[in-house]
Symmetry: C2
Subunit: 307 residues, 2 copies
Amino acid sequence: MIAVAQMGPISLNQTRQEVVERLIGLLREAARQDCELVLFPECCLTPFFPHWFIEDQREIDQYFEREMPSPVTKPLFEEARKLKIGFCLGFAEIVENRGETRRYNSSLLVERDGQIVGKHRKIHLPGHVEHRPQNPFQNLEKRYFDVGNLGFQVWNAFGGVVGMCICNDRRWAETYRVLGLQGVELVLLGYNTPMQIPEYPDLNPLVGFHNQLSMQAGAYQNGTWVLGAAKAGIEEGVEQLGESCIIAPSGEIRAVAKTNGDELIVHHCDLDETIPYKGLLNLEVNRQVKYYQLITQEPELDCDSVL
Amino acid sequence: MIAVAQMGPISLNQTRQEVVERLIGLLREAARQDCELVLFPECCLTPFFPHWFIEDQREIDQYFEREMPSPVTKPLFEEARKLKIGFCLGFAEIVENRGETRRYNSSLLVERDGQIVGKHRKIHLPGHVEHRPQNPFQNLEKRYFDVGNLGFQVWNAFGGVVGMCICNDRRWAETYRVLGLQGVELVLLGYNTPMQIPEYPDLNPLVGFHNQLSMQAGAYQNGTWVLGAAKAGIEEGVEQLGESCIIAPSGEIRAVAKTNGDELIVHHCDLDETIPYKGLLNLEVNRQVKYYQLITQEPELDCDSVL
C-alpha cells in the first residue's frame, strides 16, 4: 500500500516544527493503513515562497534547508524509521560547494529503514525571473532556484524501480520517458499548482485537466504508476489545485483527493500492472531514435527570449 | 473549417475505384460544409491487409500504390482541385530505387490547388514480423512495411504549420515533440486500430481511452491541433475503433465521430488557439535538453529482443 499525503496550505506564521508535526500525523495515519511509503508534496516544509517577491536574499534563504535531516526535521525521520515506513519529501535545498551557493527545489526518497536512497532536484523551473507587480501573485522559481543538476534518476527501492520528479517536471513528456527508459515502475512527484495562470487567464478552467492529462499520459506511455501529491487550498492568498492522485500504468486514475486540506489517499499499487504496458511498448525495439534527434539538440536562443 | 473523414470498413471485394468514389463523396460533403481540408484514414484505399498473413509477395504488393496519383486515384485529385479543397490521404506505397524495393505506410498532403506539398512515411511500426496463427487476426506491419525514412517533417500549408504522422506514431510523445519543435500547429493522422490486442486482452476495454489520451497529451504538450481519422467498424472480421476526433491545443476533444461508418466531422480549427499554449510552454527556454540524452541514444539490443 502506498499513501499520497496531500497537504492543505501552510501559513507564513506556522513554524517548521508545527509543519513537521502535521507530516508526522499523516505518516502515522499511513502506517495505520499498512502503507510502506508516503508521498509528501513539493516544498512541503514552508509556504510556497516563489509566489511572492522577496528582495533580501537572507530572507529568501530562510525557506531553504541546509541539511536533511536537520534538528527540526529529524523527528519525522525518526518516526518513519520507528514505524518502518518510507517517504518522499519535497523541500527547498541550499548547497555550498567550493565557495558557490546553489539553491534547488528538491525531493528526497527515504527507505523504510530510514536510509536516504535518492534525491531529485527539479529540472523544469516554471515562471519568471523578474518581479511582475501587476500580477496577483508571483511565480519566481526561475529567480530563486537553480536548474537541478542530477537529471532524472531511478532507484531500486520499495521492491521496484522508483523515480522522482517535481511539479512542472510532470508536464514534460521527456521526464517520464527518461525515467521510462531506465525501467521506472513508480514515479513520485509533488506539486504546488495555482488555480490561476496570470499570463494566460483563459487557461484557468483547465488547470485540473492539464494536471491529470500530463500524468496520465506519462503513466500510459511508459507503463508506470504515477503518484502526485498537491499542496492544496488557499495559501497566503494563492488558491492552489488539490486533486492529488494515484494513476495506474494504464493511465487510469485510481484514487484522487476529495478535499483541499491535509488528506491521505491510499492504494495498492501492484507493480506487476506495469508488465503488459511495458511489453506492448517494447521501448528498446519500437522507438526510432534516429528521428528524435531534435529532442536533444540545444535550441538556438536569442538574448531576449532567455529572460 | 477542417473535416475529418472517418471511413467504415473496406471489404476485400470492393475495388479501388469504388473506394475512390467513397472518398470523393466525403470530399464533396466537406466542400458543401465549406471545408478547406479533409483528412482521410491510414491506408484508406484498401482493407488493412497487415491483419492477415499473405505468403505471396506479388499478392501483398497488390495492396500498394506505385504512383500517386495513379489512373484510379486521379479522379480524387481532380475533384479536389476543382472544389479547391485540400486533403491528407493514407496509402501503402511501394518504391523502387536503384534496384531495391521499399514498402512504406505513407500519407500525402495535397494543397487546395492540387499540389502535393508533403509526404510522411510511418516511423513506428507496431505488431510483429512472424505469422501468429493462434491469434484471431494478425498485425504484420513489421513484416510488410519498412520503417519510414522521412522523419517527422512540417510544411507551411493551409495558412499554418502542418505535420503528419500515422496510427502507432501517435502513441509516442517523441512524434509530437519533434513536430512541436518545428512549430507545428496542426497534426494530421489516420489510424486502423483493432478493438482487441491479442497479446494483451486485458487492455481491450481501454483501446478508446488510450487513443484519446495519446492525442490529447500530444496536443496540450505541444500546443497544437491534433486530428485523427479512423477506419472503423468490422473489416474482414476485425473490429476497429472509430472515434475519429478533433483535439484542440488545450487537449480538449472538440469533435468526435458518432458512428463506425463513413462519417464526416467538421470543426473550425483556429490556429490562433495554439498561441497561449506555445507561449506557456516556451519550448526553447524551458526544455533542459542536457537531461534528455537517453531519449536519442540507440538502445543496446540483444538478438532475441529484435525479433
